[in-house]
Symmetry: none
Subunit: 135 residues, 4 copies
Amino acid sequence: MFFPRVTTGSDRPIYRQVVDQIRLAVVGGKLRPGDSLPSVRAMAEHLLVNPNTIAKAYAELMREGFVQAQQGKGVFVADRRPVLSAAERQRRLQAAVEQLAHEAAGLGFSSKQIQEALAKKLGGMAGMGETEQKP
Amino acid sequence: MFFPRVTTGSDRPIYRQVVDQIRLAVVGGKLRPGDSLPSVRAMAEHLLVNPNTIAKAYAELMREGFVQAQQGKGVFVADRRPVLSAAERQRRLQAAVEQLAHEAAGLGFSSKQIQEALAKKLGGMAGMGETEQKP
Amino acid sequence: MFFPRVTTGSDRPIYRQVVDQIRLAVVGGKLRPGDSLPSVRAMAEHLLVNPNTIAKAYAELMREGFVQAQQGKGVFVADRRPVLSAAERQRRLQAAVEQLAHEAAGLGFSSKQIQEALAKKLGGMAGMGETEQKP
Amino acid sequence: MFFPRVTTGSDRPIYRQVVDQIRLAVVGGKLRPGDSLPSVRAMAEHLLVNPNTIAKAYAELMREGFVQAQQGKGVFVADRRPVLSAAERQRRLQAAVEQLAHEAAGLGFSSKQIQEALAKKLGGMAGMGETEQKP
DNA sequence: GTGGTCTAGACCACT
DNA sequence: GTGGTCTAGACCACC
């Protein structure tokens, strides 16, 4: 059974962390279509968070098409990966990159330092690199 | 006179957009130490926002050491000085990098694609690379 | 639950008084990491001031690393970490010392009298002397 | 002719700096009863500040009894030093000392560090130590 | 004129 | 419930 890890006290909301990690597990192949996910209550107890928070995360994942709820049975990974338009994906990446650039520039870091920090972070993340999608 | 551009209805707060753009203009050399910035009221009228919102942005920039307010005279670009500890700067860089990594991973981009997008963005920014500060 | 005392009509702004007292309680050990602080609304009602004023105080304390806010849960005392650079801390100490020197000199006190008053005040404060940080 | 030195961009208002320095020169004996001070206009031109600022400083000094204006002749140091009640002087000293203690404690300085910074500052100031007044 | 503080009240996101 | 943002409008200190 897949359980994400969340850290309270981060600037990233808990429900967002849950969404991120499940999404990442799906696109990375750790979770396959048909796999079942923990119930809202089970995950809430496991992570020691409010059930509403998990419910919100699942709702977001359902809206995006990553998971599907089957009445009375539980939550499952959906068959097909949802698609965002290439333009939309690119637009969001640009926005995210821009935000990092602004923040780091304000802190006085050089381009090299920023890129090294990113490389280090990406190197330690699982499931990246095999999921490339051509725009 | 320098005026930032803000878009209401964005997920990024208005005062944050103002801070970002002025900070960028300063580190990018578009604004130099001693340059005067628009008065709180003038910028508020220009951007069609509440003066308090601009005051908040200026207060943030003052705390970060980017600008200096002189009672009754106005707000001016300050001589750059490192206000944050090396550890704090590093902590903030990590947080910013992490956010990009999660966002981009959720969108299904590969490590390589993310790094290329960042490299492209940094390459197009003025004043980066010369501002390196040793921790 | 910790509640500061503020006096309206003082030359020191209310939000500053709140910041001062909470900061003192933290460095003096009266408030320990993890302790929860009154909610913005609760403290505002207790002190008979506007919630925004308390929010501003908490925002300041967060920036300085004394407290940490958790969306939807409340405000908590943070683990201490040095946020400011050594140079910035020194700069602020100098400014504070200078202010006392001017004020006391204007009142006609001798160097010796000022130093004795300070020694007496510092002697009566908890948690001082163990918190030394090398620059 | 006595001219104070002011630094713009400080957190201490200019008119306050002028008041401080003249007051200090009087209690320190550098200026003696009957000595004439620069005219508002002359000092404003010399310090490159607004005449209103100097006028405000002189008004404050006159209210306190340090100087006296003689219509058409100029501003002169007053005969007798003004007296504040012992209790009031002590109260103000306590408040000033307290403020430094709060600020420095928040910055994480030890008692010893604070006292050393004060001693260094006082050592460099003229006219102190001979002006002791018994409370 | 300038920035700084405070109030009152609204809406939003998160738990 | 919690904190975060924004608006509208007031008063003050300073130049």
